[in-house]
């Protein structure tokens, strides 16, 4: 499930993802990401209820993250990052793909 809420001030949009984020929902995820990025100064992303991640989601979030960085907007993570995400990053070879100063922990491919 994909759910976006933007606070009234437009400071932060919170994107809550749950279940499987896969190619099936890729188009919807892209639109929501674009919406969140344009509406808010920063994006908060909550992946804690995600249990399936595929390459399409990795590509989208990577592009979103990179886009936010380029625009000087922030990406923060709410809740714990699930193993499913870490595994997908690791398997897809995207581990360490983000700049070394990335602090979100999204791209290390390492869970706790």
């Amino acid at each position: 499930m994909i759910d976006l809420s933007v606070d009234d001030a437009g400071d932060a949009g919170t994107l809550t993802l749950s279940g499987g984020i896969t190619i099936q929902h890729a188009a919807q995820l892209k639109d929501t990401l674009l919406e969140g990025i344009s509406a808010a100064k920063g994006l908060v992303i909550d992946l804690s209820e995600v249990d399936r991640v595929d390459l399409s989601a990795i590509q989208l979030l990577f592009a979103a993250h990179r886009g936010l960085n380029d625009k000087g907007k922030s990406l923060t993570v709410a809740g714990t990052i699930p193993e499913a995400w870490h595994n997908a990053v690791k398997e897809s070879g995207y581990s360490g793909s983000m700049n070394a100063d990335d602090t979100t922990g999204l791209w290390t491919g390492e869970g706790k």
Binding site: L55, S56, A63, G93
Partner: protein, 702 residues
């Protein structure tokens, strides 16, 4: 996962029978595409399910045969006699393999090779070059488990952008690749990934560079991409020895780090032991595992229930269970008879009504139980088609086998025990009965001989008839031969019927030369023993030059006997009704007229008799007028003298315990309604014993 293979073997045996029948039909009409299709499908199914259920030998062997038949199906090759011969041999081989798997003799692998070579020789262009059909069944080449040092491969993978569109998940390919080796490093190349705004979410922009350390071959790596070989640019390079020489896998990683291709933590991650990685990849807590196990159990029990429901339409039961049921029904019939007797003794009307109801139900229960064990004799008949075909070819004869009454049902036990005697009889017909084509033509007969096999119901018996249009039996020749062998006295005058019975004598063979088909001096005497054991009888009629008819009269079932209950003093006996022809009176005057010989004149025919009272040394005085039960015993009318005939009696046979083992003159016992025991007489054995003891075999022809 355990899969029950018995379903496969049972199905396979059935398919093999079908296959044989189809092949024999195909031989008659070799152009019949339907039949070719049937043969092919039978092979295909055996191969397919064989492979699925782990019968690799069956699958591999059948594959070879199927390949050849596929060509026949595509009309690349013609259906010829050699093809049918080889396919029949192949069918036998498959059976042998299945039998071996069931704990039988191991199948002859060389025979399998011979069959395969024979089949390949039939293929077009077969001249030593490996035939097209020799391709291995497995889609993968055998894994080359090289003992070498592990190789380091660099694998570049560039999927086509639309790879998601056919359901491919590239991450699974990568993880499969990872599983191939000891060490594996995957580095995504995402420089083609556009900004989010321009990104098509359903397109794959990522490509990879993978470093894999493995002992597997390049083919094994390519196999990972077998489904996407047209959707993936794949570039695999075995890194030069120099690149690896003197270094270990970790060094390769270090080189990459030094080259700035990957950060150090990626390397460390990649170098973690596979066990750790699996634990991480497991991503489950113990409670989740527990839940999953519970779910699996639930699925299993659901599956079992489903399987049960699916097979409910017809039930396969081990025949021992049925035997047990028949035994119990037998007991019930006995108790019911006692109930009837008790009810009528007590003059209790209500009890009699109940007894009658129980009798009706018991009767139905008995009939139903018996009918469960009833099988059509058709399958047995079908086996003989093959026998006739093979033997006649071997002997250079042309014989057609026709059958009739294949749907006739009789007890499974009887059918099982009937096979061997019928084989002997048919062999004899083929070997000694039917003449070679040239002799047949000379005698004005159709060069093709005929064997007709039929079964019909006749009361509580089944008549099975083997009829041939061969040269027939010569009673004079048989008599002479028996005299030569000292089996009958030199001055014996036998009726034709008696002469024909001579063929059942032990060691009696009329074959002028011994062939490997029959005529080894065993055979027909064994047939008689088997039919005796089935409480059946054999009748032979033959017209010299025209043919022979051998008729087996068999009880429908072995568990119940239609008997004639007779009494001698206080003793009760049961004679099998199937053998009984008539009852006549024996007066003192008749005995006196015979001047001490145990014979009686019945409508101008002299019939020898046996006095049961004397035979079993039963005391007491016989009544003035005794009864002779005239029975047909091996073609001879023989009387059995009793005090009185009580009547017809359907009875459940109890086998006699080991205490009675020596009493071969009884085939069993039965318990009557009042609890008394009546012995069932084995008439053939009685006659033989008496003949042996008294040499009674001098019946004067009328």
């Amino acid at each position: 996962m355990e899969i029950d293979t018995s379903a496969f073997t049972e199905e396979a045996y059935e398919l093999l029978s079908e296959l044989e029948a189809s092949l024999l039909e195909l031989e008659e009409s070799p152009g019949d595409q339907d039949l070719i299709g049937r043969v092919f499908r039978a092979m295909h199914t055996i191969k397919g399910s064989g492979a699925m259920f782990g019968f690799d030998e069956v699958a591999e062997f059948t594959h070879e045969v199927e390949t050849v038949f596929d060509m026949a199906r595509n009309k690349t090759i013609l259906v010829t006699k050699p093809l049918i011969d080889l396919t029949l041999a192949a069918r036998d081989q498959i059976r042998a393999i299945l039998d071996a798997a069931a704990g039988g003799e191991p199948a002859d692998k060389e025979n399998a090779q011979r069959i395969i070579q024979g089949l390949r020789a039939l293929l077009p262009g077969a001249g030593g070059a490996p035939a097209a059909g020799a391709a291995p069944t497995s889609k993968k080449p055998p894994a080359q488990a090289s003992e070498d040092e592990p190789h380091v491969y660099r694998i570049r993978i560039k999927p086509s952008p639309d790879i998601f569109a056919n359901g491919t998940n590239p991450l699974l390919l990568l993880s499969e690749l990872r599983d191939l080796g000891e060490e594996c490093q995957v580095i995504a190349q995402y420089d083609k990934l556009p900004p989010l705004e321009n990104l098509d979410p359903e397109t794959c922009y990522t490509s990879w560079e993978v470093f894999l350390t493995t002992q597997k071959s390049e083919n094994a790596i390519r196999d990972v991409f077998i489904f996407v070989d047209d959707q993936c640019e794949l570039n695999i390079r075995l890194l030069d020895r120099e690149e690896v020489l003197g270094t270990d896998v970790q060094k390769i990683g270090n080189i990459l780090v030094q080259r700035g291709d990957i950060p150090e933590e990626v390397l460390e991650q990649a170098l973690k032991p596979i066990g750790d990685r699996l634990v991480e990849a497991g991503a489950v807590s113990p409670s989740q595992v527990k839940a999953a196990l519970a779910e699996q159990n639930a699925i299993k029990s659901k599956r079992d229930k489903k399987v049960q429901a699916e097979s409910a339409a017809s039930v396969r039961v081990p025949s021992e269970k049925l035997d047990g049921l028949v035994d119990l029904v037998g007991e019930l019939v006995t108790v019911q008879a006692r109930l009837n007797q008790t009810a009528s003794n007590r003059q209790d009307h209500d009890l009699q009504l109940i007894a009658e109801e129980v009798e009706r139900l018991t009767g139905e229960l008995r009939d139903n139980t018996m009918s469960i064990r009833m099988l059509a004799i058709g399958t047995t008949f079908n086996k003989f088609k093959r026998l006739v075909r093979d033997l006649s070819t071997e002997l250079g004869k042309k014989i057609e086998l026709t059958t009739e009454g294949a749907e006739t049902e009789l007890d499974k036990t009887v059918i099982d025990q009937l096979n061997d005697p019928l084989v002997h009889i048919i062999r004899n017909s083929i070997d000694h009965g039917i003449e070679t084509p040239d002799i047949r033509i000379k005698n004005g007969k159709n060069p093709e001989g005929l064997i007709h096999l039929s079964a019909i119901h006749s009361g509580a018996s089944v008549l099975i008839r083997v009829e041939d249009d061969g040269k027939g039996l010569d009673p004079e020749f048989l008599t002479r031969k028996a005299i030569e062998k000292g089996q009958i006295p030199p001055d014996s005058q036998l009726t034709d019927k008696e002469a024909f019975q001579l063929i059942f004598g032990a060691g009696f063979s009329t074959a002028e030369k011994i062939t490997n088909v029959s005529g080894r001096g065993v055979g027909m005497d064994v047939v008689r023993k088997s039919i005796d054991a089935l409480r059946g009888s054999i009748d032979v009629t033959s017209v010299l030059g025209k043919g022979t008819i051998i008729t087996l009269k068999l009880p429908l079932t072995l568990a119940i006997i239609e008997g004639l209950l007779v009494q001698v003093a206080d003793e009760l006996f049961v004679l099998p009704l199937a053998a009984v022809e008539e009852c006549v009176e024996l007066s003192r005057r008749d005995v006196a007229n015979a001047h001490g010989r145990h014979v009686i004149n019945v409508r101008d025919e002299i019939v020898p008799y046996i006095r049961i009272r004397d035979r079993f040394e039963i005391g007491g005085t016989p009544p003035d007028i005794e009864q002779i039960v005239i029975s047909d015993v091996e073609g001879k009318r023989t009387g059995f003298v009793v005090d009185s005939v009580i009547g017809q009696h359907q009875t459940v046979i109890k086998s006699l315990g080991s205490n009675f083992e020596h009493s071969e003159e009884f085939s069993g016992a039965t318990i009557l309604g009042d609890g008394t025991v009546a012995l069932i007489l084995d008439l053939s054995k009685m006659v033989r014993y008496v003949e042996a003891e008294e040499d009674l075999s001098e019946p004067a022809a009328a």
